[in-house]
Subunit: 172 residues, 8 copies
């Protein structure tokens, strides 16, 4: 996988160059740059890792005879991967994305967040969220970097079991 | 893969049974059935095949140093798989889905459809469509069953080249 | 009905051919095909059957002096037929679609699902759903293939009675 | 059909009574009424007529081997009937509704309106409209009362031919 | 007011003629008509009456020193008139429309419907509805033809008092 | 009108007091205030003036036998008044609002802005805008304070003529 | 800051002139003006004050080691300033805007409004609102002119503490 | 600024800890981690830098007497900062965000992209984009990390001049 990563790094540079090439006269102006002091870094799952996790999630569901949809979102809530499992109900696709969004927002499994609603019921009115079991966070040194959401199994606990299997596949 | 397929078939039955189990008193009523004469069959990519095609599409882009997003949609326009490639621009995710939707709607590569707009420019106002190269249909005996959409490369022609690589991976 | 079906089958081929004809240079490339191993089949109500069921549903309501809207959706949640009954309230059209979506998602009458919310109240936050009586699933060998939703009668139980009449008209 | 109509008229009264019954204490207040001078009448297709027209439209398409979606909207732009034909592309459903909306808004076939855009191109930015052939108005004494929209055939002219067949079935 | 009404009736004919004139070749085809048997009539508030009612509603609020928004919708849920009172809160405009929609859908004051939720809490998930006092139906012989919605006063009961004043202005 | 204005001013104070009363413990904290130096004033049409202008607009249309919708928006794009004229097409309501929004955004009649698109065609992709004649700005000392939008007449020039009649009714 | 304000006042006049200049033939017509009697004034935070308050809010959060998003909205609910703090969760941005909208709508801290829901639970269904602590109103002589919303801290009480710090920075 | 940064780093850890604390039993499971090989880093403007750039942008506009809105978005298209300048037209807020989104998507000033549309006009149908001058990218070593969008000045060229002033303030 190191090779793939290297390729990708190169790719990024090439892309930037390519695009800049198309509009070179403007983008080359000095004003376009930002000092290092203006920047901070965030960590994201590579698409290779996100795909691997999503696949492991789906495999865990199929192994138990369940038809589910799977979503992986990053820390900013952007969807990285979706898989609509064979036979999964039409409600499962959006549910999986929202569960993942919820898990990464609070850096916690959505099953734990459901309990939290007892104290603060209106949390569930926040746009993009869904407070049902089936979302599991992915962390790097305790900080949230992504989450996996699953929907479509007969219970949310089953959904979340599969999501955890996906997280486990990241081997952290 | 035959084993996986078998598992899945079993899974579907189990799922149905599971759900019905939860609400047995009602779902067991005879009125819920439809005669065979009321039914028709449609063909879909399995999620295994769709994932394979999406991965082959992304691999083709990475190999050429391009950062793209990839989407696979079925004949009804439902998204089966999405992959947001490392470094792909934020506009690429929705673009990929819409290109795939467009390709499957007309059963043609979106590059061919762009030409078609010369005669009927308002086609591009149809909801869900995007008339940019980068969408490629997947067919079974000439009929559309799915499509792959790609966005994020410096040109739509490159996007579509990668989409075709994904279709080729289906080996039809 | 066999004749109509035959016509339709022919029609599909013609359509595909017609569209391909318009963009022949591209669509004829070998890369567009998918192997049989990549495909699975799903069953859908024919539009003829769906229309018949929707009409039977509306007739049942009119017979009891009720003004309702009716919707039939397929297993993927796509709407196949809608009928806005004479005098039906403006809220009934969207309600009927959402009830049908909910019934097909869980393969159960929505009246049964309302009870299920007691245990998992947040299910009702899943996009596209509406947990009110009036949705009835259509099954083929126990698996969900469609659902009928009704709204506008003074009670959800009445709505669901009419939906069941529609399912019964499919004679399965 | 007279009998059905009679039933329906009765039905309306019953419905109103039923609902009022549920909330009788309030709805019975005198303040709820409007004088005749405050009211005007508009004419609408009955759902029976709208369904008949939609079916005739779809039959015309199937007869020519085309897979289309059909929509009937009333003068206020509300959808009365939709039919998603077997095998119709996913883009056709929303297109059919928008073509019908456009035809009833300008009381003209959408094919005629396409020409009109030459003078006023931004008409096509009005929400809900789609300026593609395939929409046909239904009139009562020259005034628009409804429209039929069709989408999915290889050309808009074919779509509109089928829509006209639906209008013809109303026998006016 | 009779003169205005007469003017309007003439106006409608002129409008139709005008538009048809613009696209005469097509709209003049015999196929555009619908037989009387295909039609039913519905009653609507004239815009003159709706404006009068809205103004009376706002006047009632201002008289009591309250800043509110007012909406009048017809039986199909289409908005006829809106007035955003001076100083009304930003949440009031959409609230007023939704209260009116809710009142006309169930032909009852929304204060009465709030009670109804005790039995069927999920009614409030129906799109377009808002179950807060402040909506009052307008009826013609007991059937709903319109509704007035008010929002922005410190209590819903006050909102509804103003709405009733608007209905009363219709003098039915 | 001075009396009405006075009433309203009083009303605002009362409303604030009323609401504060409901939540007194918190709202009474000193931290809630803003110094005068932090504030600027903007001018708005009173609802009385906006209603008068909207009515004059509609009257002008009816006088010429045209069925239109009318909207008045303030400088921030918020809708103050809407009137859906008797018989106005379903596309006219949203069109009127968007024309008014466009006129107030550029402080110019939309007929003038249409010409402007020749140089900068993509202006019309700005959300909320519609570049069709029929919108007229309302100014106070040359600065935009509101706009009137009209839609539904056979030509945009007619629409704008009626909008101008509405502005004229403000007598500035 | 007085100088900046002066500049701005000049700026407004220039802008108006600039725009009018572009479309002079039309905008110069006498009909565009409104009499003073047609106008009322409202007070708004200057962008300078709103930015200062937003920054003070964020500073208060960072000082306590919390990652939050901040929004300032005006009395009409329009957003004036947003700041997405480093590391703030993806759910925080929209939440902050909605809390501010809610606080300005009822001229009260959202923590106080949460209690209010006990009596009127459906208030939370009003579009644009979010009934979670973290919103604080800004007042001028008791009337609401703006509000600050904060989201992302582990508790809503913390969010609201920061919002109050922002209001305090306005020094009123 | 190093101190602020340090505070923030600490803050992130605290936040995570706080949230985890609330749901400790679950989040503490080993399965939540991701290996370093699964992660990649991206660079973002700090909120401090983004605010500084937005303020410099607005200052440049005010200095020339122009009323504009300003938006800063990150590489993933998420909005970091918005400022609605005093007197800016209602269309400017959304325009500024879309221009920034467009600039960061193609890593080029939007003025350069407008030219690009000559070859590929349908690029402008990609969701979230707006092809008008006024967007300027922010780069780190040539790669896009953010963009600034401006709208509201009489010409897009002016808008973009102000956006460049904001980028220049980052001193890169």
């Amino acid at each position: 996988m190191t090779k793939a990563k290297k390729l990708l790094t190169t790719a990024s540079a090439v892309v930037a160059a390519g695009v800049v090439g198309a509009v070179a006269a403007n983008a080359a102006t000095p004003a376009a740059g930002a000092k290092d002091a203006s920047l901070r870094s965030t960590r994201h799952l590579t698409i290779a890792a996100a795909t691997k996790a999503a696949q492991a999630t789906l495999d865990a569901a199929v192994k138990e005879g369940q038809a589910v949809s799977v979503a992986v979102v990053d820390r900013d809530g952007n969807t990285l991967v979706t898989l609509r499992g064979d036979g999964a109900g039409p409600q499962s696709y959006a549910s999986a994305e929202k569960k993942a969004f919820t898990a990464v927002s609070w850096n916690a499994p959505t099953s734990a967040l459901v309990d939290r609603l007892a104290k603060t019921p209106n949390l569930k009115d926040i746009p993009g969220t869904l407070f049902l079991p089936g979302g599991a966070p992915v962390q790097a040194k305790g900080a949230p970097v992504a989450a996996i959401g699953v929907a479509g199994a007969p219970s949310g606990d089953l959904d979340e079991k599969f999501a955890r299997a996906g997280v486990a596949a990241l081997g952290g």
